[in-house]
C-alpha cells in the first residue's frame, strides 16, 4: 500500500507531464474546460515529417557537440582526478572548491566576458568554440565522478601492475581506465545532458551557425504553437534516453564478454 502511494506520486510528478505533452502534440485545439481533447489532428506530426531533414540535422549537431564535450572533459580531468584521489597537499580543499566553481556560478558570468575574446580569436560560430565553452562549465561533473572512481578503486591494482613491471602510461590505459568506465559513464552522462540541453551558451558562441536542437526548440516553446513545441520536446526527451539504454546494454554485454575471456 505504502509502495503504491510512492509509485503514484512518482507517476503524477514525472510521467503525467509526458502523457500530457503527447496529448497536446496530437490535439492542438485542446482547451479549457476539457480534461480530454475532443478532437485529434496530425498537424504537428505532419510538420515533423515535412521538416524531418532540418530536425535531424540539428539533432545530430547537438549530439555531436555534446559527445565532443564529453570527450574533451575526460582528458582534462583524468590525471588531476587521480591526484586529488591519492595525494594530499596543502590547500587541497580550497583548490578542489575552486575547481568546482564553474559548475556552480551562473555560466553567463564568464561566458559573456569571454564572448568578445572568442570573436577576436574567430572561435565564435565554430563547433570548437562551442565545445570549449561547454566543456568549461560542465567538467566539474566529470571531475567529481572520476575522483570518486579513483577513490573506490584504491591503490591495489596500480601497485600490483607496477610490481609486475608496467609503466605509468600502461597502468593508466590498461589497468585504471577500464576499471574507471562506470565512473566515466556516470560523469559523462551528466556532462552530456548538460551540454545537450544547453541553449544559451550554444546560442551565444555558436551564433546560429552551430546548429542545435535547443535552438530549434526554443523559439517554438515560447511561441503559441504548443502542439509542435510538445512534439519536439518529446523527441528531445527520447534521444538521450535511447542513447543511455543502448549504452547500458552494450556495456553489460561487454562486461560479460570480458569476464568470459
Amino acid at each position: 500500500m505504502k509502495h503504491l502511494v510512492t509509485l503514484l506520486v512518482l507517476a503524477m510528478l514525472f510521467v503525467l507531464p509526458v502523457v500530457v505533452l503527447m496529448l497536446i502534440g496530437l490535439a492542438p485545439g485542446w482547451r479549457f474546460p476539457h480534461v480530454w481533447p475532443d478532437e485529434f489532428s496530425p498537424q504537428a506530426i505532419a510538420y515533423l515529417v515535412r521538416n524531418h531533414e532540418r530536425i535531424l540535422t540539428s539533432l545530430s549537431s547537438s549530439l555531436l557537440f555534446s559527445m565532443l564535450t564529453v570527450l574533451a572533459t575526460l582528458p582534462m580531468c583524468l590525471i588531476p582526478a587521480a591526484v586529488f584521489a591519492r595525494v594530499d597537499f596543502p590547500g587541497k580543499a580550497l583548490v578542489e572548491g575552486l575547481l568546482l566553481t564553474p559548475a556552480l556560478v551562473p555560466p553567463m558570468t564568464f561566458a559573456m566576458g569571454l564572448h568578445y575574446v572568442f570573436i577576436k580569436l574567430s572561435l565564435t560560430e565554430t563547433m570548437l568554440g562551442v565545445v570549449i565553452m561547454l566543456a568549461m562549465f560542465s567538467y566539474p561533473y566529470m571531475f567529481r565522478a572520476l575522483v570518486a572512481g579513483f577513490q573506490s578503486m584504491g591503490e591495489d591494482y596500480r601497485m600490483c601492475a607496477r610490481n609486475l613491471g608496467a609503466g605509468p602510461l600502461a597502468i593508466m590505459l590498461k589497468v585504471e581506465l577500464p576499471l574507471l568506465i562506470p565512473a566515466v559513464i556516470a560523469g559523462g552522462s551528466v556532462v552530456f545532458l548538460v551540454a545537450f540541453s544547453e541553449y544559451f551558451l550554444v546560442f551565444l558562441i555558436g551564433g546560429g551557425s552551430v546548429d542545435s536542437f535547443t535552438g530549434t526548440l526554443f523559439p517554438l516553446l515560447s511561441s503559441s504553437n504548443r502542439s509542435l513545441a510538445a512534439v519536439l520536446t518529446l523527441i528531445f526527451l527520447f534521444l538521450p534516453i535511447a542513447l543511455f539504454v543502448i549504452m547500458d546494454t552494450t556495456l553489460l554485454r561487454l562486461y560479460r564478454k570480458m569476464q568470459m575471456i
Binding site: 507517476a11 500530457v20 564553474p102 551562473p106 553567463m108 559573456m112 566576458g113 562549465f137 540541453s197
Partner: protein, 289 residues
C-alpha cells in the same frame, strides 16, 4: 623534479583551462563592468554602472526576488527529493526499476519544464479543467491565480520539478552505500519509522542534501531559461535583466549588464563559502554531542 612541480604539472590539464578561460572570463566580465576593455570605448566613469544599479530600487527588488525564488525552490526540491529517494530505496527490487521514471525531468531541458508548468497551472490549464469537471469551480477565473500572483510561484514550481530528480539522484547515490542493517537495528531497538528516518537516515544523507541545495540554489539564481517563459513583469528576475541589457540594448549599457553579472558572481562565491562554513560548524556541533 620536485614534488611540487610534478603536482602542478599533473594538475595542469585542468588548471590551465581553468585559469585561462574561467578566471579570464570572469576577469573580463569584471573589467567590462568598470567600463574597461569594452568592445567600444566607454565614455562614463569606472563605477557609473554600479552607481546606476545601486540607485535603482527595482534592482534591489529583483535581487531579493531572485534570491527568494531560488531559495524556496532549492529547499523544496531537496526536501521532496530526499523523501522520494528514501521511499524508492525502500521499494522491493522490481518496483524500484519502475521508479526509474524519476529520471525523466533530468533529461528535459529547463524551458520544457517551464512549458509543462504553464500547461498544468494556468487558469485555463489541465488542473483548472479538472477542477471544473469535478465541479470545484464554475469558470476559469475562479481557479487560483498561481502563475501571476506576483510571488514567482510558477518559476518555483518549475525549478522544483526540475530540481527534485536531481536531488534524488544525489541522495540515491548516498543511499546505495547505506547499510540497511542500521535501520534493522534501530527497528529492533523499538524506534518508530519517523524516528529512524530523522535520526538514523537523515544525518547520513545530509552531505548530499547540502550539495544539492547549493547547486540548485545557485542555478535557479542565475539561469534564464525558466524565467524567460514564466517570469512576470514586476518584479523581474536578474537573469532576464542581464539578457535584455546584453542583447536588446546598445553597447553603451554593456557595463551595466556586466556589473549585474559581477554582483551575481560575487554573491555566488560568498554564498558557497558561507554555506560550507555554517554546515561544517553545525556538523562539528553535532559530533561534539
Amino acid at each position: 623534479m620536485s614534488s611540487t612541480s610534478s603536482l602542478i604539472l599533473k594538475l595542469s590539464p585542468l588548471a590551465l583551462p581553468y585559469l585561462a578561460l574561467f578566471c579570464g572570463g570572469v576577469f573580463l566580465t569584471v573589467c567590462q563592468s568598470f567600463g574597461l576593455l569594452t568592445p567600444l570605448p566607454y565614455p562614463g566613469g569606472m563605477v557609473d554602472a554600479y552607481l546606476e544599479l545601486l540607485t535603482d530600487s527595482s534592482f534591489f527588488a529583483s535581487f531579493v526576488f531572485s534570491l527568494g525564488v531560488a531559495a524556496v525552490s532549492a529547499a523544496s526540491a531537496v526536501t521532496i527529493g530526499t523523501l522520494l529517494a528514501y521511499r524508492i530505496w525502500k521499494l522491493p527490487g522490481r518496483l524500484a526499476t519502475v521508479a526509474l521514471v524519476y529520471k525523466i525531468p533530468l533529461v528535459l531541458p529547463h524551458i520544457a519544464v517551464a512549458f509543462v508548468v504553464l500547461v498544468f497551472w494556468s487558469q485555463s490549464g489541465i488542473l483548472a479543467s479538472a477542477a471544473h469537471q469535478l465541479g470545484l469551480i464554475r469558470s476559469m477565473t475562479e481557479f487560483p491565480n498561481v502563475l501571476y500572483s506576483g510571488w514567482g510561484i510558477g518559476m518555483i514550481l518549475a525549478y522544483t520539478l526540475k530540481g527534485t530528480p536531481f536531488a534524488m539522484l544525489l541522495v540515491m547515490a548516498m543511499l546505495v552505500r547505506f547499510d540497511a542493517r542500521q535501520i534493522q537495528t534501530a527497528d529492533m531497538l523499538g524506534a518508530s519509522g519517523l524516528r529512524i528516518f530523522f535520526s538514523v537516515v537523515l544525518p547520513r544523507l545530509a552531505p548530499a542534501m547540502h550539495t544539492g541545495f547549493i547547486i540548485l540554489f545557485l542555478y535557479s539564481f542565475g539561469a534564464f531559461d525558466i524565467p524567460y517563459i514564466l517570469s512576470e513583469s514586476r518584479p523581474g528576475m536578474l537573469s532576464i535583466q542581464v539578457y535584455n541589457l546584453y542583447f536588446k540594448h546598445d553597447l553603451a549599457r554593456r557595463p551595466e549588464a556586466m556589473a549585474i553579472l559581477t554582483i551575481m558572481f560575487g554573491f555566488a562565491v560568498l554564498f558557497i563559502v558561507a554555506y560550507s562554513k555554517v554546515v561544517r560548524r553545525l556538523e562539528d556541533g553535532v559530533r561534539k554531542l
